[in-house]
């Protein structure tokens, strides 16, 4: 793990006697902020478990929670990079509306009308082509934002505020204000409906592969650090950490496998949107921690001038960030349309607020330079746990939004206080 998050390892090397907490943080390489987030999330879950008479932690509800949160989680990983680089993207909610409408319009209206023989609604090629073109649309939208922000110097707040208004309107233009439905049956599987899960067997495979990858990475890291004589963690600690991660992963798979398909006892397994979220998190973590591009994003957030003086093409990097955000918003739009099994004008409405809230609650500093992908996922989990739990408690959506607002303020206050103490 690099120190890119700006989170310090609480235990300084070379101290003679250290407290249990310092030792814990040093050995696990977890930082205080992430640990606090995890603790808060677990506390929220326990509280909601009791408040809903156990309903909250039922496999059915946890599966729903994961599917509801997936779309925001997917976009939150991109929002982290945007905010870390001292920008903002207010357009993502409208982009979900536009791209969701676009993918539906392409395979329901457009292809069948121009090529009725080749790409009718029920052809797989049609929706696959529509998905690819929608992802490319995400690239184009990102280039558009990047052009104005990086090459024309218009603040991202303004450019994407324009996007917030404009793309919502473009969704309306694409469909003449209609709701497009029905969609292709196979396309709808992306949304994780009754059949949109990968089943028991493949869920276990995913879990096993994940654990194998963790073991592999741990081993490789140890070997590399040895080579340079950099201190490695005690082997026992590594094994315990792997055991904990494995327990979490297999626990997750078991929960997903104990929710059955309707009127049957066939386990559903991991829903497709959740699988997409997992893949997104892995890819985005890799980009942010292991690639030059990711390093430059954090450097820009820390000191844009220094980044430029280091010979880095700041404009291109900025454009890259918005392209990634555009593609992730397209993925979110595709999943949303598939989940709703129709494309209407309210897809993604106000979702930019949830996405930004997830990133910020997850420790991304609005001043830039600091934030992790994993933190944003924890943030999204907090947001959707609260919404979901409050729905189970039969509160109104007004009450839910008030609660979320308070959580947001509290989370940022925690961050401010924590950063101050660290200085």
């Amino acid at each position: 793990m690099t120190n890119q998050s700006g989170s310090e390892r609480a235990g300084a090397v070379g101290q003679k006697s250290e407290s249990f907490f310092n030792a814990f943080f040093r050995v696990t390489e977890l930082d205080l902020r992430t640990t606090a987030m995890l603790t808060a999330l677990i506390a929220i879950w326990v509280a909601l478990y009791f408040l809903t008479d156990g309903l909250f932690l039922s496999p059915r509800n946890l599966t729903n929670l994961a599917v509801q949160g997936a779309v925001v989680g997917i976009m939150a990983t991109g929002m982290v990079l945007v905010i870390v680089a001292r920008h903002i993207d207010l357009s993502v909610g409208s982009l979900v509306g536009f791209t969701g409408m676009f993918v539906a319009w392409l395979h329901v209206d457009f292809f069948p009308s121009i090529l009725p023989g080749i790409l009718p609604l029920d052809s797989d090629l049609g929706w696959i082509l529509a998905v690819i073109m929608t992802l490319l649309m995400g690239v184009v939208i990102g280039l558009w934002h990047g052009f104005w922000v990086a090459y024309r110097g218009v603040p991202a707040f303004v450019v994407t505020l324009g996007g917030l208004l404009g793309f919502r309107a473009m969704a309306w233009v694409v469909s003449d204000g209609r709701t497009i439905s029905p969609l292709n049956d196979h396309f709808e599987l992306i949304g994780g409906g009754a059949n949109g899960s990968i089943g028991e067997f493949w869920s276990w495979i995913v879990g096993i592969v994940a654990v194998a990858i963790i073991i592999l990475i741990t081993a490789r890291t140890r070997k590399r650090r040895r080579k340079y004589g950099i201190a490695t963690k005690p082997l026992v600690v590594e094994i315990i950490m792997i055991a904990v991660y494995s327990a979490v992963i297999f626990g997750f798979v078991m929960i997903m496998n104990s929710y059955m398909r309707p009127r049957s006892d066939i386990p559903r397994g991991i829903p497709v949107p959740v699988l997409i979220l997992i893949a997104t998190v892995i890819i985005m973590t890799f980009i942010s921690q292991r690639t030059k591009f990711g390093r430059y994003v954090y450097a820009m957030g820390g000191n844009p001038e220094a980044t430029e003086l280091a010979g880095i093409n700041v404009k291109r990097t900025t454009t890259g960030i918005f392209v990634i955000m555009g593609v992730l918003a397209s993925v979110a739009g595709i999943v949303t349309a598939a989940r709703l099994q129709s494309a209407g004008n309210l897809m993604g409405f106000m979702q930019e607020l949830f996405v930004i809230a997830a990133a910020v609650i997850g420790g991304t500093a609005l001043a830039g330079g600091v934030g992790t992908i994993f933190g944003a996922i924890l943030g999204a989990a907090v947001v959707f746990s609260i919404i979901n739990g409050m729905v189970l408690m039969q509160t109104t959506s007004a009450q839910q939004q008030i609660a979320l607002g308070l959580v947001l303020i509290f989370a940022v206050w925690f961050d401010v206080a924590y950063t101050k103490r660290k200085r």
Partner: protein, 264 residues
């Protein structure tokens, strides 16, 4: 200029008749300097004299409005810092130019990361290299994996110096390199400069502290209000002569007795 270090040798750097304006401010106005291999050129002048702007043109950070830059006698066009780096020009910026949220190795290798065979960053290799080079400059500096924000002024300066030295510069620009350093680290930097000189590296050393520069430089160039007052061999002038150039903007010999009184 009457003074050059030439003995038929091609200068490493020639900056000829450089101009740079910022709106109404003429930050650099018709300045010509040169630098020879193995030489230390001190640039002196008041705050705002234009020292940083002049050298930032050579770092590729500013584009000159007018003027010509030659490296080893060949005219070059520096569009950005990368161009300068590729020509072996390294800079220790006055502001240090460090990303505060990153650790020392990340800053040291920023823009020039060591990669693994898979095209990913090799953080361990960078940490290892960083330790070696920083150790040489500042043996007490151990916590290089902490974010820069938590480091002392001297440690930050050590990282900035290490970065400029690591990449085998042929031309090294040092803009106030010892401003935040203690006496021991300053001595270390002086030693470093002597050593780099022996390796044939040309060094431009900027300071507004006369004494710093006087001991290390072979020649000094003095700037005032964006213009070059003059360039002299350090061995040919006294500190008072140079002080006169800085404060009055006049060459030794041009001063009147009244000027002399004004100085003391």
């Amino acid at each position: 200029m009457s003074d050059t270090a030439s003995n038929g040798q091609t200068p490493l750097v020639e900056m000829i008749d450089m101009h740079k304006r910022f709106g109404g401010v003429h930050a650099v106005e018709g300045v010509t300097i040169d630098l020879y291999p193995g030489e230390v050129l001190g640039i002196l002048g008041h705050n705002g004299a234009g020292k940083t702007v002049l050298t930032k043109i050579l770092s590729g950070a500013h584009r000159a409005d007018e003027g010509e830059i030659k490296i080893n006698g060949k005219k070059v066009d520096l569009h950005n810092p990368r161009d300068a780096q590729n020509l072996g020009i390294e800079t220790i910026y006055q502001t240090l130019a460090l990303a505060d949220n990153l650790d020392a190795p990340a800053n040291l290798f920023l823009g020039r990361e060591i990669m693994t065979g898979f095209g990913t960053m090799d953080d361990d290799a960078m940490e290892n290299e960083s330790r070696k080079v920083i150790q040489r400059l500042n043996p007490n500096f151990k916590n290089i994996k902490d974010p820069m924000r938590t480091m002392s002024g001297g440690q930050r300066q050590s990282v900035a110096i290490a970065r400029a030295v690591y990449f085998n510069a042929k031309i090294l620009i040092m803009d106030e390199p010892t401003a935040a350093l203690g006496p021991q680290e300053t001595a270390m930097v002086s030693e470093l400069i002597e050593q780099l000189k022996k390796e044939g590296i040309g060094i431009i050393l900027i300071s507004h502290d006369l004494h710093d520069v006087f001991d290390l430089s072979d020649r000094v160039s003095v700037m005032k209000n964006g213009k070059l007052v003059g360039t002299r061999y350090t061995r040919d002038v006294t500190k008072d002569d140079v002080l006169g150039m800085i404060i009055l903007g006049k060459l030794p010999g041009e001063t009147t007795p009244e000027d002399g009184k004004a100085l003391h």
